[in-house]
Assembly symmetry: D2
Homo-oligomer: 368 residues x 4
């Protein structure tokens, strides 16, 4: 069993062989068909993410086919279907305790103190080693939530991988935003996160979906997912953008907005483009980025603004992301602009680091 291992920050990943693991009760060995390359992987590779436990196998987004199931008892998927070898599956990248205040009382398992994520929190130095998706196999522990995708045989696995991470995170942001039918929705940034937000905004009945972005290929995907006002920040002034948004919303501003850029600077413009009583969700800023001055009277209180942070997601959001990918299969497949084999993992990381790809994936030869 092979995996691309990160041994040293900023150095190339190396292909390492691991022994076939013995499976405990409820454990599932999956052959990976597609692994997503996330922007966070780049941060980890660069050593910018303090969680990174070297040596490790990167990759928290994966889709695969079950090879073996441990134990005698049946192993079920989220819908109660008995899993068996050969089933194509996706899974919740996060494992949570289910028994703490966050899991059991506040129903926020994304904030569970024991939460750990494949490809992020655990080193591969200890058995069973195979805990990341930049690999040909991964071992899913017994309390991993698995979803069979056997109903959707034609779906491109590479289009699905992002459902487990940016798609699910976007779904959490959407749920926290409380979008209503007829709302005007502003989305700043049209990377994978922003594109999912466009799709969800339409899916929840937005009247207008306004996107601010600077890269043509991303703008084009946003339009295909239903954005009806796409503002190019490289060729418009803030004043022009404000006029465009106010004109579309009869002078009141957008009802709901999302920061999906990855930096907090757009927050000031985002708040300015929202109506009083609106909700602004900050979901793109996934690493420390310093402070932004906020005028609490004018920007928050007088405006009765809701400023909401969104951190990762719950299992429910993965289900929602799968639904939206299925309904927009071609667009999400086209979003994966770069595909590589496992032995090209370094090249895959580079394509994301240099923002050459909108989304890159490592695919097994069968699906390359």
């Amino acid at each position: 069993m092979k995996a691309a291992v990160l041994r040293e920050f900023k150095s190339p990943l190396q292909i390492v062989e691991f022994p076939q693991p013995d499976l405990g009760d409820g454990e599932v060995l999956v052959r990976i068909t597609a692994a997503g390359v996330c922007g966070s992987d780049v941060h980890m590779w660069l050593g910018e993410d303090p969680r990174t436990p070297l040596p490790m196998i990167l990759g928290h987004e994966g889709v695969g086919v079950i090879e073996e199931i441990g134990g005698k008892g049946p192993r079920f998927d989220l819908y109660g279907r008995e899993l068996k070898p050969g089933d194509p599956v996706i899974w919740d990248r996060a494992v949570v305790c289910g028994m703490c205040y966050f899991c059991a009382v506040k129903r926020l398992p994304n904030l569970c103190r024991s939460r750990w994520v494949y490809g992020i929190h655990r080193s591969c130095s200890d058995p069973p080693h195979l805990n990341g998706c930049y690999a040909d196999h991964i071992l899913l522990v017994s309390n991993t939530k698995i979803i069979s995708i056997v109903d959707w045989p034609d779906l491109d696995p590479a289009a699905l991988v992002s459902a487990g991470c940016s798609g699910a995170t976007a779904a959490n942001a959407i749920e926290l935003s409380g979008i209503e039918i007829g709302d005007s929705v502003l989305i700043q940034g049209a990377g994978p996160l922003g594109l999912y937000l466009v799709g969800y905004a339409r899916t929840r009945g937005a009247e207008h979906v306004i996107v601010i972005e600077g890269v043509q290929s991303r703008m084009e995907l946003a339009r295909r997912l239903g954005a009806d006002l796409v503002l190019d920040f490289t060729s418009t002034t803030p004043e022009e953008r404000k006029e465009a948004v106010m004109s579309l919303t009869h002078g009141r501003g957008a009802d709901v907005g999302f920061e999906a850029v990855g930096r907090p600077e757009p927050v000031v413009e985002g708040i300015d483009l929202l109506r009083r009583g609106g909700t602004y969700v900050i979901v793109g800023t996934a690493v420390p980025m310093g402070t932004i001055p906020i005028d609490f009277y004018y920007q928050i209180v007088l405006k009765q603004l809701r400023l909401q942070g969104a951190w990762t997601n719950d299992t429910r959001h993965i289900v929602q992301a799968l639904s939206i990918v299925r309904r927009n299969a071609k667009v999400f497949s086209d979003m994966v602009t770069h595909r590589f084999g496992l032995d090209q993992a370094n090249e895959a990381l580079r394509s994301m680091a240099e923002r050459e790809a909108i989304k890159a994936a490592i695919v097994s030869s069968t699906h390359a």
Copy 2:
């Protein structure tokens, strides 16, 4: 009919005589029994509030007795009771259009663009003049929402006045906070707004109500309303307060917090004392106060914090405020530490400006 008129900023109010008005259909003439002196009145008197249209009658908080009802048709209160002269009443200080996007679609009449408030937005230079509560009479226009308080003959009118302003604003903040039974709630500041928040937090089932305040008499009222951890910021360090809050909440922080100080500086401490996934409502900052730097990654996103502004209130919140005053009548009566006659209006303002009073009221001789 007499009123205390503000003609010039920072100069004494002057008692002016106005003619008895002719009442149009649905208009109601009320003899005022108690008028609240709000912190905003001080800002208006000082000329710090840009809305102030001189000359004007201050006073947006009032309770009174109906003297006359205009028109032939019946005039009903909020509960469908026919009003008649002699009925003691309170009313919604705000008049809204009921027909705009904010009123009719988003159900946020507090953000109605046509909203105006007795004692704040209108000058007394035009008929019918009597549009503020620092007066012996007020004329309520036909679309003013009136609530009869005939069921509660023993309630101190001075205890009730704040229900129409700070009590209702606090109710809006509480609704926006989404408090659940068993939550730990942090309240910064125990002026009228903060004291109402203490009462509501208990009323919504808070397990712990934590108050940070520096004035002993306010702390005492907070305790009487149900605060079980009162931290004196004049004698504790931020570290000591954090330790106290974390100890009470098993190390996770408060579930919900409120800024009720009137300045945004406490926001940083407030956020720090909240748990991940918590909600922090900013409700006290009612005038411009400059900016505060916010670290969006650590304070908002990673924490999945909801930072919510609350601006004034809706009619529903007045009903809720009346309910809480009724159940805590003695405490809210004691909160009105200073009472004056109409001819002492300047002294009343001074008692609030110098923070001598927790709450001051102008009461008619009958109730003084």
Copy 3:
């Protein structure tokens, strides 16, 4: 000014001439371009609806063009746009007080005790007479909420009329249902109400939309709006339908269901097809229909079912209905299978009474 007047139950409507009214402040005279013929109109014509105040002008669904605006002041639409003669408009068929417990506290203006509806509650015997849509003109009173549709010049007025009644009622039902992204949704009946529900279910992110209906043309429209499982109750058994639903939902049943048939009998099947913890909204049963036995243990408690009645709608739901019509303009235009001139009003009623039309409309010659 002409209108088709109902003088006697079950007798033909008669065209009557009325004088041009003098407009009071804020009143608006509208030339009607399209009036919807609702199933309720048939009930009123038959004398089955106790509200019917003879003589009267039927028609509570209308779209038109402003001819005149009363008073000197500006008259605004819901979005704050100043209205002027020549503007195409739609309006909230219901007039409410905005000041009672239901309007101002519980935010349920659809339950306002003073609520009255054009074409339903008022006789045409008193001035200004013109209070129904089966007419060439209607007079909108000053507190009627008006929405300009000037942005959508190409929309078929006949497609829009239902947005103000069945479309808005369906939006209320959808809001009460709490549909989430990924839900499986059951809709019983594909008349105008059911077709709107199909559209909304898709608009709110339903994974599966299941329709039970017996008329081919209605089934076809349901499919065009996004239904992915359409069950013909004339050619399937309840057992077959249950198997189909359970198969699609991995054995658990639909998450949300709607009775849009107009009779309560389907309730039993509907509940049976829902999962535990589901929500079932009864929205089609608009006239008394007798009782249905309910087993509270098995159907409600053990199932933790939410059984929700939905009665008419609020202004917000009209906005939502307009949004969905605009996005599905051709389908909703095709839903209006029968169109008539004002002098054919009796024929229009007949086409609905005999269920020959899915939806009939009375259109002015310009748009016929």
Copy 4:
């Protein structure tokens, strides 16, 4: 280790000795200090509950002290506190999978298909035998959610046991009801479930709490918990009760109602006493009781009623129940009118079967 075992329906329980179990990783052996005798236990004893797997140890409500913890790793409580022998604890009587559609997507673990409850679903014939609370010890499996009550040393264990069952079920019903501050709340029945509902209604800010009951001692407890209108159905007519409720609510009816009687017959009166747009929660009917005819037009649609079933509860509701017991410790202690030793288990059952006790508990000699 001793337990009272049900071997044959309607026959006396017998005290049986079981071997001390070996504890697996995360398993906890608890010495029971108090076990609640629930109405469901009587149904099981009579053979009326189809779930009952003979032979079995009854008792799903318990409080105790940890004697031993299995495995080497630390075992935490819900709040992340490390548990140790000697800690007084309560626990979630239900064990759920945490990984299915109901647990992980819809956040309704009370509807988890794998859910099982101590003292209800499992026979005691297989090891580790000790799975019910009518015993001196119980073995809690590793995924049982445990809550330390070490902070509340003075709380009567017998007062706490019902928090884990009827108190938590009532909390679920309250959450599903959406009570708002100022609401008028109707509660039919003042057994343990109804009494908790009274407490919660007050805790959530009800303006009026109306109770219908026939037993004086229960009425008295309802009053002590805050009911302000208690109607004795043995001495009032339905008309008198309706007049009383309408008078209190200005003619509109209660905002929220609860069936906590255990039979569906009161549903008809309950619905009649609610206002339009109200919510009626059926929570008391815990065993099959036949059907009740419902008029969907008048009782559900025209009224826009929400009729909501409530089935058992989630962990969050136990936390809420503990909070309310703590704040009303004396009343909930007095609610336990009958206390017995383990060898008097049959007498305890009888006291409940004959409705002699409001609530009975089996207490260890230390606490008897």
